[in-house]
């Protein structure tokens, strides 16, 4: 069952490379996404009894939570993606920023890489072995690089190169961290513990703490690059703003989480070995730096997709902060991961609709979305409220929980900084979002044809609804999963 979760998208992806008919390929994309979600629901309801392949694939609560997020987001992205691919013009056309002509990458490559990207994220969620997790994370970089370069113009190429190089170097350092963890798992007689998460946690008391801490630092820097924690985030705003919106949604909503999960795996071992406090301090520090950097760049941001990208830097900071604070903060962080993924994916998808209608990413040139794209505008405003943590949306709850954790643990300085940064970001985002939605339309009268289709509205609307519901009521199975995941990380 676990192997099927990985191989379904792999096979579908390979098929997408060779299928020539557009409708057939798009159906394969949809079918694979539906099958993946169905399999995910199945393993959630009836968890597989034992790990497979000598523990290489091992689904625990933490993995299940992130697998669920990934699968749901991919389904939403696939539905939106079919509509997106239909409306993309395959002919050479003018780039709206520099006026040069550009074409799209072949759709077969795009769809194939999208599915392989899903397969690799699934591998990261399912992996029970640190080496295999590394293989998966690096493979997500390679599978997603061609996606960023879908629109073949100079800016997306620059973003792709930065993404490839910075993330590959970062992830290489994570590999060094894993090798160092191997030393920590070797005792004086040369006997070794296999690098399986479950084994390491079980026999954590016999690990060498000094080596384990050194390994964690490298791993945090490595995967932290991929997760977008400041000051290692430099690739993120470029890649997220230059890729097609459907890809940005997946990068922000699913990929950052996978990198986060890879850090959490090591943190789990650290907690079990009794030096969790060391990792927590580092996470709090990086979390606060990320929020601060994001707040600075969000204020006065002119490009609405970059704005969303910096908001992702902010939210990965909150995720790290929550786990770093410990206690109830870990639960808050898990809940925040779910909320952030749904909200950010929804916003990127709506941003794609706005971009398609207005042909610009500049917030100053987009006015009157309410009159041009009424449904998208409502979703855009709802997304704004959700992403800044306003009630009644889910993020209000998770951000409040993390604040409570900070106060509980006596981190008064962290709590104050957290509130200041959240306030700055709220103001910065409010001016952009409200300005774009309201006012007289900046588009000429004759181009105001109906542009909203069911496919372009359905996914973001459903994601928005989920965030709204999560703010009011968390279903018992989800609540249970979140609590189990938090418990595995030493929180509650």
């Amino acid at each position: 069952m676990l192997a099927a979760l990985f191989f379904v998208p792999v096979l579908a992806g390979l098929a997408a490379f060779v299928i020539r008919s557009h409708p057939v390929r798009r159906s394969v994309l949809l079918a694979a996404a539906v099958a993946h979600t169905a399999l995910t629901v199945r393993v959630w309801l009836r968890p597989p009894a034992s790990p497979v392949f000598d523990g290489l694939l091992h689904l625990d609560e933490l993995g299940m939570l992130f697998l669920g997020i990934t699968s749901l987001l991919f389904l939403a992205a696939a539905i939106y993606g079919v509509g997106y691919l239909r409306r993309e013009n395959p002919e050479p056309r003018q780039d709206f920023e520099e006026g040069l002509l550009f074409v799209n990458a072949p759709e077969g490559i795009f769809t194939g890489c999208l599915l392989l990207f899903l397969a690799m994220m699934t591998l990261v969620c399912l992996s029970g072995h640190f080496g295999l997790t590394w293989v998966g994370v690096e493979a997500t970089t390679l599978a997603s690089a061609p996606l960023i370069y879908f629109h073949r113009h100079t800016r997306s190429l620059e973003a792709t190169w930065k993404y490839l190089l910075i993330c590959s170097v970062g992830i290489a350092l994570a590999l060094l961290g894993i090798f160092i963890a191997c030393i920590a798992a070797t005792d004086a007689n040369g006997a070794t513990i296999p690098l399986l998460t479950a084994e390491l946690v079980r026999r954590a008391s016999s690990l060498n703490q000094v080596w384990l801490k050194i390994g964690f630092v490298f791993l945090l820097v490595g995967y932290g690059t991929k997760m977008g924690l400041a000051p290692l985030h430099t690739w993120l705003p470029d890649a997220h703003s230059e890729s097609p919106s459907v890809v940005s949604a997946l990068l922000s909503g699913a990929l950052l989480n996978c990198a986060f999960l890879s850090i959490l795996r090591m943190h789990q071992v650290l907690v079990a070995a009794g030096c969790g406090a060391f990792g927590q301090d580092l996470l709090v520090l990086l979390g606060l730096i990320s929020m601060g950097v994001a707040a600075i760049f969000i204020i006065g941001q002119q490009d609405f997709k970059r704005l969303l990208a910096y908001s992702s830097v902010e939210h990965v900071g909150i995720l790290a902060l929550g786990v770093g604070l410990g206690g109830v903060g870990v639960y808050g962080s898990m809940l925040h991961a779910v909320n952030h993924s749904m909200t950010k994916a929804m916003l990127f998808l709506v941003a794609g609709n706005i971009l398609a209608a207005y042909g610009t990413k500049s917030c100053m040139q987009v006015r009157g979305v309410l009159s041009v794209l009424p449904i998208s505008a409502v979703l855009w405003l709802a997304g704004f409220l959700a992403v800044t943590g306003s009630p009644p949306f889910g993020m209000f709850l998770s951000e409040l929980t993390i604040l409570k954790a900070a106060l509980d643990q006596g981190h008064i300085l962290a709590a104050v900084l957290y509130l200041v940064f959240l306030g700055m970001i709220f103001v910065g985002m409010a001016s952009v979002f409200l300005g774009m939605a309201q006012g007289e339309s900046s588009l000429p009268e004759d181009t105001r044809t109906p542009r909203e289709t069911v496919l372009s509205i359905l996914s973001p609307a459903v994601l928005g609804l989920i965030v709204l519901v999560l703010g009011l009521w968390i279903p018992a199975p989800v609540q249970n999963l979140l609590q189990q995941a938090a418990k595995a990380l030493g929180g509650f």
Binding site: A145, L157, W161, A172, I178, F179, C182, I183, T186
Partner: protein
């Protein structure tokens, strides 16, 4: 066996020094190929005579991919992208050679500060791998061309590889092959990206990739 392993490790240091000082792209790629073969030999050396199927597959894979496939890929990228043969550093050759040389004592000092490891591991292994990592990072930040940045990435990766084969013995074959495959695909994808960069920009100077900034 120990003496041989030490000799190979010293040879790896020399290849890294050469990388930090050489001015011709073609020669750099030759040196990189040589380093790949040396890596395979280190793998044999640290296994201390015990031949296993696992070890054999790993050695063959390393030598073939790092010694032959990567140089071929890089040379093809250079040919197709029509790149001139100079390295074009931001930092001059003599100063980067100096930095490369000075990072060797730094690596020695750092590894002497680390907690003790298994005495069966060659004492030069950790300093050599740290040195390779430093040189890799140096090449990435101090060179203008995208191809040289890939060479830097490979030097970094090789340094980590040396560390891994010497100290991390519990990795399974599947995972090791996965790592090798990932690095292979990474270089392959970077090669394609270089080709596109040269076509879009008429050069592969990464300092000109500066449209995206605040």
């Amino acid at each position: 066996m120990q003496a041989w392993t030490d000799l190979i490790l010293i040879a790896i240091v020399l290849t890294n020094l050469a990388l930090s000082g050489l001015g011709s792209l073609g020669t750099c790629i030759h040196v990189m190929a040589l380093q790949g073969v040396l890596l395979g030999l280190v793998t044999v050396g640290v296994q201390q005579g015990a031949v296993s199927l696992h070890g054999l597959v790993l050695v063959t894979g390393t030598v073939v991919i790092k010694g032959f496939v990567f140089p071929k890929l890089l040379r093809r990228a250079i040919r197709e992208a029509n790149i001139r043969q100079e390295v074009e550093p931001f930092v001059g050759f003599s100063s980067s050679l100096l930095i490369g040389t000075l990072s060797l004592p730094l690596a020695m000092w750092l590894s002497s500060r680390l907690p003790p490891i298994d005495p069966g591991v060659p004492s030069l292994l950790v300093p050599v791998s740290l040195h390779a990592i430093f040189v890799g990072l140096l090449l990435i930040v101090s060179r203008r061309k995208a191809v040289t940045q890939v060479l830097g990435y490979l030097a970094l990766e090789n340094g980590i590889f040396v560390f891994g084969v010497g100290l991390a013995r519990q990795a399974t074959l599947l995972v090791e092959m996965g790592i090798l495959l990932d690095v292979f695909v990474a270089v392959f994808v970077m090669g394609i990206a270089i080709f596109h960069i040269s076509r879009e920009f008429d050069h592969i100077d990464t300092d000109q990739l500066s449209l995206l900034k605040e």
